[in-house]
């Protein structure tokens, strides 16, 4: 039991630093740093796990003192680090970009675009979904009292531009 846990913990904890740094790096600036620490290294089940994320140029802040956008990127980094270990076939995210400014929206959408895991994201921000391979448009057909779907393959447009 401890072996399985430690293998998982070590892999995710090795992944979190590079993932968070890449997500928070902006043009010209270095990314921030993130760490996972075991409170009880001898008996991991006795203590808890501490997740610390420090945005670029900031240090030693408790998670609950970070701003809305900073917390969102910290959460997504942890999600992606866990996905690198557990490797689900796909991920579904609902409006995770709500608190992100224009730069961070672009960073997150580029990260998802380059990830090897299939990702389905609900988003209201055109700066986010402009990078998608396909769009599923949902609209309410009021007279027929139903939701309806229109799918758009964005890759066809990219080809015609080239």
């Amino acid at each position: 039991r401890k072996e399985k846990f430690m293998e998982c913990f070590q892999k995710v904890s090795a992944a979190i630093g590079p993932v968070y740094s890449r997500l928070t790096a902006n043009t010209g600036a270095d990314g921030g740093s993130a760490y996972l620490d075991l409170e009880d290294t001898e008996d991991p089940f006795n203590g808890g796990i501490k997740y610390t994320a420090m945005p670029p140029a900031k240090r030693f802040r408790d998670m609950h003192l970070l701003s809305g956008g900073e917390k969102t990127l910290a959460a997504m980094a942890l999600l992606f680090a866990v996905q690198a270990f557990q490797r689900p076939p796909f991920m579904v995210l609902d409006e995770v970009d709500a608190a992100l400014d224009a730069n961070n929206v672009r960073a997150l959408s580029k990260y998802v675009e380059q990830a090897d895991c299939q990702t389905i994201v609900i988003s209201l921000k055109d700066r986010f979904f402009v990078r998608a391979d396909a769009l599923v448009g949902v609209w309410k057909n009021k007279p027929q009292e139903t939701s309806s779907i229109l799918t758009l393959d964005l890759q066809k447009y990219q080809e015609s531009v080239q």
């Binding site: 998982c8 076939p89 994201v121």
Partner: protein
Amino acid sequence: GRVHEMVVENFKSYHDRVRIGPFKKFTCIIGPNGSGKSNLMDAVSFVLGVQARQLRGERLRDLVYRTEKEDPKKNQRTASVELTYVDDAVEGDQTLVFRRLITRSGEAKFQVNNVNVSQADYHKRLEGINILSKVRNFLVFQGDVEATAQRQGKDLTAFFEQIS
């Protein structure tokens, strides 16, 4: 592997049969407030074995499509969500069709490739493609993302244990 497409029938705001897809590597679901986007997320979660009570305070019966005038208790419809999973990496294409239904009597049914299976077997087949329905680590529901960063201590340990 990846999701190829989904078919929802009488699920939440979706009346009759509606096909959604094909999904690509990076697919975005867009549309106005209240149109039915999060309902699609509920549909994916539902067909992947997540319990109805995790889906916005719903009882099983609230997941079945009904018009504004109808009484939920008299709903005669059958609801279902079907997800087609494709794995090109496996020797010879492997396609799995997961389907989960709520019959008109409110009973739950599970099918893999059109064959009825028990709930336990359904979850096993999902684990076989790396979907952990109880842990839900591959899903982020609307409004939940910031809470994910603030999970600490023993909660986080329990989470890591579940994924290992």
